[in-house]
Amino acid sequence: MAGALLEVTGLSKRFGGFVALDGIDLSVAAGERVGLIGPNGSGKSTLVNCICGTLVNETGSVRFDGETVDGLLTHERTRRGMARSFQLPRPFTTLTVADNLRVPLLYTVNARPGRALSPTELDARCAELLQLVALADKRTHLPRDLTQVEMRKLELARAMAAEPKLLIADESMAGLSQSEVDDIVSLLIRLNERGITIILIEHIMRAVMKFSQRLIVLVSGKKIADGLPDAVIRDPEVERAYLGQ
């Protein structure tokens, strides 16, 4: 696809003898909202890890924003505009909630060319992000004081703080109440309207269907469907492999 922001070709990843990803091809256009679904263990998080450089894929290639990022370290990819949340939140445990967000601001936003944010602007940005995910009153707390749900919100806010071109949210909504899910989905849609391309990995189908303009299905490390959400969920193969279980 011409003008794709993210382009993955022939990506494979093994863990020992186990093939976790098998020749994945996918492409995401700038400005798109893509849902990525698949049963547990189908390789979604592994794919995110390979795209972002947290894991090294054996074969295949990842192009981002017109350039190949193979061989780049994770922080270099983040600075180029990829950001992801971890499925199991990995907060910086000795830093306050606000300082957790300060890190990507200092190391990604301020590391890009152009004017760096001043300390007051940094504070304001942290406060603004915490407001977005309704964590403002936990600003000075340590992550261990947060509930699992709040931890997920922090995880998402930290990815957003990096001001990415592409945001990958890996099951950020597990455990959230219905209204919280709706809040996060509309937040992601608002971010997307501001020009951020988003890949949403999610099990909550209501959220996926509301969010996605396109749906990609992964089963046992293979991509089995890629297309308009309504068509994809009616695909017999998808039903058999995923929804029917």
């Binding site: 972002c52 450089g53 947290t54 370290l73 994770t74 922080h75 983040t78 600075r79 950001a83 992801r84 971890f86 990995r90 907060p91 910086f92 445990t93 000795t94 830093l95 300082d99 300060r102 890190v103 990507p104 200092l106 190391y107 990604t108 301020n110 590391a111 930290r158 990815a159 703080a161 990096a162």
Partner: protein, 313 residues
């Protein structure tokens, strides 16, 4: 508080300490004080790597000894003033710290700690077999008795070490309040998440090993003048490796205050124990205290005080 204000304040405190010690007018106080100050520098240096980034270095003695042996080496070539020797010792140990960081980049936890221990053994073996700096016999450094302006040479050495304390604490506090400090903390907490947030963890680790090594070397550079006769076994002494870990752990590793408190407390305790009981009991005391703190107060004295303040608020 701005770094400049902090620095001026530290200098003022250092001047007061110096004149107060002079007023006591007892050479022994200078000798003992030198050792305590040296431990402040060493534990502050250790903490930059061990406390801020969470990488435990068991080889502090080697960095200290390299600084000391750089002085011995230069002393034989051409005697230089001590401040210059400190610069050289810092550079040598800083470069070795960089090298160590580079070789151990992918090692974590116990493996990193073991690698630092191995480095210390290798360096000690090299020094023992290097005749030019005295080999296993050791090397004599003739210390002048007096120095212009200050008087007794030990007072000069004490003053030099005070200056190093000021430098080390300013560096440590400066790191804590800078972008670097946040980066170090994320390495300690979670390196994968750090990278994902844009932190160049490998580069930051190298900065930490270099800075930490350099400060240890700076602490070691004046040592031959202090001791007069430098042997590998004294420069690479177990007490340096143990104390530079124990002092920050007991004081608290998350801020510059911890190593300072730990070093003053444990350093003084050991000086008193040396006089009143024997020097052999020192490491026993340190070991017992370390075990007690690791079990009862893993965040050190600073952690205890912070917890106490939080509860009474």
């Amino acid at each position: 508080m701005r770094t400049r204000v902090f620095l001026l304040l530290l200098i003022a405190v250092a001047i007061v300490v110096f004149f107060a010690t002079r007023w006591v007018n007892n050479d022994y106080v200078f000798f003992a004080g030198y050792t305590v100050l040296q431990f402040v520098v060493l534990s502050t240096a250790w903490n930059i790597l061990g406390g801020y980034t969470g990488y435990v270095n068991f080889g502090s003695a080697a960095f200290f000894a390299l600084g000391a042996y750089a002085t011995v080496f230069l002393h034989k070539l051409y005697p230089l003033p001590i401040p210059l020797l400190i610069v050289v010792g810092g550079a040598v140990s800083g470069i070795v710290g960089l090298g160590m960081g580079y070789l151990t980049l992918r090692l974590r936890g116990a493996f990193f700690a073991i690698a630092t221990l191995a480095l210390a053994v290798v360096l000690q073996t090299l020094i023992v077999n290097w005749d030019y700096v005295g080999g296993s016999r050791g090397a004599y450094i003739i210390r002048p008795n007096e120095i212009a302006l200050i008087g007794p040479y030990i007072q000069y050495l004490f003053l030099v070490m005070l200056a190093l304390v000021v430098i080390a604490l300013t560096v440590a506090r400066g790191i804590e309040r800078s972008r670097l400090g946040y980066g170090f903390a994320t390495i300690r907490d979670d390196e994968l998440a750090a990278e994902a947030s844009g932190v160049p963890t490998l580069r930051l680790k190298l900065i930490a090993t270099t800075l930490s090594g350099a400060l240890m070397g700076m602490a070691g550079a004046p040592f031959p003048y202090y001791i007069g006769y430098l042997q590998p076994s004294s420069a690479f002494g177990l007490e340096y490796a143990v104390n530079s870990i124990a002092m920050p752990m007991i004081g608290g590793t998350t801020s510059w205050v911890g190593p300072l408190i730990g070093a003053i407390l444990l350093g003084s305790l050991q000086q008193i124990a040396t006089v009143t009981i024997s020097s052999a009991v020192n490491l026993l005391i340190v070991g017992l205290l370390l075990v007690a703190f690791v079990i009862i107060a893993p965040n050190g004295i600073v952690g205890l005080v912070q917890g106490w303040i939080r509860r009474t608020k």
